[in-house]
């Protein structure tokens, strides 16, 4: 039972690990080379990146000067640099607020997550439940909870809470998969020497889990920064998110982009710092090899597995609902806005209007699904194409991949209104956001997977006179397929969240709009019910992808 869950989780995490590794591995290879030659090789390695960045900046500036800048749609790099200079005092005043809120939330949530995972690891059934609860909670549209969070955590605390919520689940999953990665031999030795399961967690499992924990800590950085800035933008009114809001209001688009770049830099700096700590604590982590695998084969019968899944599923639902009630009661939240599972059940199932209530929510859900699906399809297709090109042309890989990884630090959600101006309509913004997020996650994991294709298989294909593109199709693609599915597990629910957030911020239709409108008009039961429906759909999507993965990979193997 644990094996089933555990075999799924490392895969989902592996995909995210790619971001970490592709950045983390950008360091000179150790060797006898002199400092001067190392510097020369660094410059040689950077040349394609700098070239690509230069071309990008020139194209951007040209587009801005062609009229986009004058129309307040898109400022060029020169204007943004001006905006950065002009905003320096405001940024200097607010960056510490944002960094402080993000770090407090980050540190507390990470510590709690590691502790929770270690405690749960002492008892297998608890571990299963913690992992499942984490999957459910991670697929919640936490952004839509911001107006509720601010009621119990006013001011900057809201920023910390939102950062913490995003961090907790990522680190929890990272820790759980790391704890499960301990060498069976070591565990056996520990047991044979008279150690207990609880002791093994500390002396064997935790040290083995450190690389995975650090990976998740690095992956969690962008989520923490975006969570803080979004809450500042939506409810706190201070920090980088606060000045972003003021800049939008003043139509100072150069400042908007300057702030976005600043938060990207903040993300990059924190990411780098945690990477350095990782190198000190677990120097072997960065060289850990990546292994893609489909779900581990299980020996039990399908009927038995289904029964076990159903049972743990029911327990998970009970656990999550229990946590929900506990939060509402424990924090003493007023029933006017803090609805409970029974309120939602009544609204959607037992009340005389239940049918209409559910119909209303589903009617709002439909456009969200359409936008998310369109964005996911476009983003994934573009990523497959781009990965193909990048892997086939090594120069392109060296030029583009560092930019691709760096781009992921830009807090896209905060730029939603700016993207809205670029693409022209609210619905297109939702599709674009979903597409961009899917594109980058998929591209990075595909390129990483292609890189990890065994060298001898590629050489074999080459020796049989296969061209670069043919090698891709015949050799690399089968190795990249698991990576594609791994990415989809993140991007499919992610696209849904992106579409919902865009609706929440600007489009005026879809389930995101229903939630914000519900809050505005004090229709809190509608808001919570929409939230539950959204979470259920997001989970269904996750499991549908997992199922598709199992079917497809089994046929391939």
């Amino acid at each position: 039972m644990t094996a089933v869950t555990a075999s799924r989780e490392p895969d989902a995490n592996t995909v995210r690990d790619e971001t970490v590794r592709s950045v983390g591995s950008e360091r000179p290879a150790p060797g006898p080379a002199s400092a001067a030659s190392r510097a020369r090789s660094a410059v040689a390695r950077l040349r394609p990146v700098l070239g690509a960045a230069g071309l990008l900046l020139i194209a951007w500036q040209a587009a801005a000067w062609s009229g986009l800048e004058a129309a307040h749609i898109l400022p060029g790099p020169i204007a943004i640099t001006g905006g950065l200079v002009d905003s320096a005092p405001a940024i200097a005043a607010n960056l510490p607020l944002t960094a402080g809120s993000a770090l407090v939330g980050y540190a507390i949530a990470a510590a709690l997550a590691v502790a929770a995972a270690c405690l749960a690891a002492m008892w297998a059934p608890a571990l299963t439940q913690v992992v499942r609860a984490a999957i459910v909670l991670e697929s919640l549209p936490t952004l839509a909870l911001t107006p509720i969070v601010v009621i119990v955590a006013p001011g900057h605390t809201a920023g910390s809470v939102l950062a913490g919520l995003s961090v907790f689940f990522i680190v929890l999953m990272g820790t759980v998969s790391g704890l499960g990665a301990a060498s069976p031999l070591m565990l056996e030795v520990h047991r044979a020497a008279g150690g207990r399961a609880a002791g093994a967690v500390w002396s064997v499992r935790l040290p083995a889990a450190l690389p995975s924990i650090f990976s998740s800590l690095m992956i969690a950085v962008p989520a923490a920064v975006v969570g803080t800035i979004m809450s500042e933008y939506l409810v706190v009114g201070q920090g980088l998110g606060g000045i972003m809001l003021a800049a939008y209001e003043a139509m100072d688009s150069a400042r908007v982009w300057a702030i976005a770049l600043t938060s990207a830099a903040l993300t990059g700096a924190l990411f780098w710092a945690i990477g350095r700590i990782r190198d000190l604590v677990v120097p072997w982590a960065a060289s850990r090899s990546t292994e893609y695998r489909a779900a581990a084969p299980t020996s039990s019968s399908p009927a038995h597995r289904m029964a076990v899944s159903a049972l743990t599923g029911v327990v998970t639902v009970v656990v999550v609902l229990g946590l929900w009630v506990l939060a509402v009661r424990g924090l003493g939240l007023n029933a006017f806005f803090a609805k409970t599972p029974s309120d939602v059940w009544g609204y959607l199932v037992t009340s005389p209007d239940a049918r209409e209530n559910l119909a209303e929510i589903l009617a709002y859900l439909a456009p969200t699904l359409a936008k998310a699906l369109a964005g996911l399809a476009i983003g994934t297709a573009a990523a497959v194409l781009a990965a193909w090109l990048i892997v086939s042309l090594p120069l392109l890989e060296r030029a583009a991949m560092p930019l691709v990884v760096a781009f992921r630090a830009v807090p896209l959600l905060v730029l939603t209104p700016a993207i809205g101006l670029l693409v022209g309509s609210g619905a297109a913004t939702a599709v674009a956001l979903a597409a961009i997020l899917s594109f980058f996650t998929t591209l990075i994991s595909l390129v990483q997977a292609a890189r990890s294709t065994p060298r001898d298989v590629v050489l074999l294909a080459r020796s049989a006179n296969a061209g670069a593109f043919a090698t891709q199709r015949l050799v690399t693609a089968p190795f990249a397929l698991p990576a594609l599915f791994g990415a989809l597990r993140i991007t499919a629910p992610g696209a849904l969240m992106a579409a919902m957030s865009a609706e929440w911020l600007m489009t005026g239709d879809g389930i995101g709009f229903l939630m914000i409108q519900g809050g505005m008009e004090s229709r809190f039961t509608t808001m919570w019910s929409a939230f539950v429906v959204m979470a259920a759909v997001s989970l269904l999507v996750f499991f549908a992808v997992a199922l598709a993965e199992r079917v497809v990979l089994r046929r391939l193997s």
Binding site: A90, G237, M506
Partner: protein, 343 residues
């Protein structure tokens, strides 16, 4: 108690006569009602970032008006995701700056809330277009596109209907709130506030044309003070709110009297970190004054019956269920009595 005569600016002679009389009066009230003027702490939730929109409170704090009333006031900024009503219901905030529609919705859903004062006595809601393609009357909107925020779509369509325009003939485009979609040509007009986007457009070198909804059959109070109804029955809490309103009135009168000084307070104090544009803030403050005190005989923050009726009519138009019990104007009246007694 410090003198307050400069702000109300009566003639110097009358003021000094009043001052002499009221000093004696103030002492007796202070002695007689010691329990009611117990020091109190109030948490205020604003609905937006710390800009000149909330200058009255910021000036009251900076000028010591809260302190005069033995109040410690903590104000918290907001943003587009803040719903003021649940914050007041939960008690996280004692006073919320909201609008009648949001509070009426909350009351209809069972929240025990009351509106006790209004900063804007007439609504600055407007349709804003550009001079090269102006929208000067509701009928001009037929066949055009208008950017409307998600939050105000319902009330905008209700206004269209009341102004005799079929909503089906107008293309409503959801926007975030700022005027950029208008400048970029994405829409022909935006629904916004005469005091906000118009100024931003002017400063961006554009020529905005402002059509005020209040000129075409839609008027309402706005930026209203929402409190928990239960607080009004508790003598100590009620006294604290009345004293808060008294300080706010003095604060807003200062803003009307000297918008530049008010902008300085905001930009050097609560709004300092936002690095706001001083010119834009002054322009906004000056324009806003006409909504806070449309004419000299208007009592700032007061909610006379005709204002309540007009607001209820607008709410009814929007399909919001509300009646006059949503408003309680007696606290502002008491606040004025307190100010007069304190002079």
């Amino acid at each position: 108690m410090p003198s307050f005569r400069l702000l109300l600016a009566p003639t110097a002679l009358a003021a000094s006569a009043l001052l002499l009389a009221s000093c004696a009066a103030a002492e007796t009230t202070a002695e007689g009602a010691a329990t009611e003027t117990a020091p109190a702490a109030l948490a205020v939730q604003n609905r937006w970032v710390n800009n000149v929109q909330f200058a009255g409170g910021f000036v009251a704090e900076a000028s010591g008006f809260y302190e005069d009333e033995q109040l410690t006031v903590t104000s918290t900024p907001g943003g587009p995701g803040v719903n003021v009503e649940p914050l007041v219901v939960q008690g996280t905030a004692d006073i919320g700056l909201s609008n009648p529609a949001n509070t009426a919705h909350a009351v209809a859903e069972g929240a025990p809330l009351t509106i006790v004062g209004a900063v804007y006595q007439t609504s600055p809601s407007a349709v804003i277009s550009l001079a090269d393609d102006p929208i000067e009357a509701p009928a001009d909107l037929v066949g055009r596109s208008v950017g409307v925020t998600a939050a105000s779509t319902a009330s905008f369509t209700a206004w269209l209907a009341s102004a005799g325009v079929d909503a089906a003939d107008v293309e409503i485009v959801p926007i975030q709130g700022d005027a950029a979609p208008l400048v970029s040509g994405q829409v022909d007009a935006i629904s916004g506030l005469a005091t906000n986007q118009g100024v931003a457009l002017e400063l961006a070198g554009e020529q905005p044309v402002v059509l005020e909804l209040s000129d075409f059959g839609r008027d309402s109070m706005d930026l209203t003070y929402t409190v928990a109804t239960a607080d009004l029955d508790d003598p100590e809490r009620r006294s604290a709110i009345v004293r808060y309103l008294a300080a706010e009135i003095r604060g807003w009168l200062s803003v009307i009297d000297d918008p530049q000084a008010a902008v300085d307070v905001v930009l050097e104090g609560p709004g300092a970190d936002l690095d706001l544009d001083a010119v834009q803030q002054l322009e906004q403050a000056t324009l806003t004054n006409d909504y806070i005190r449309p004419s000299d005989d208007v009592q700032v923050l007061a909610m006379p019956e005709e204002l309540v009726d007009k607001t209820l009519a607008t709410l009814a138009q929007d399909g919001v269920d509300a009646d006059a019990s949503l408003f309680d104007g007696s606290l502002v009246d008491e606040a004025y009595a307190l100010i007069e007694a304190g002079e």
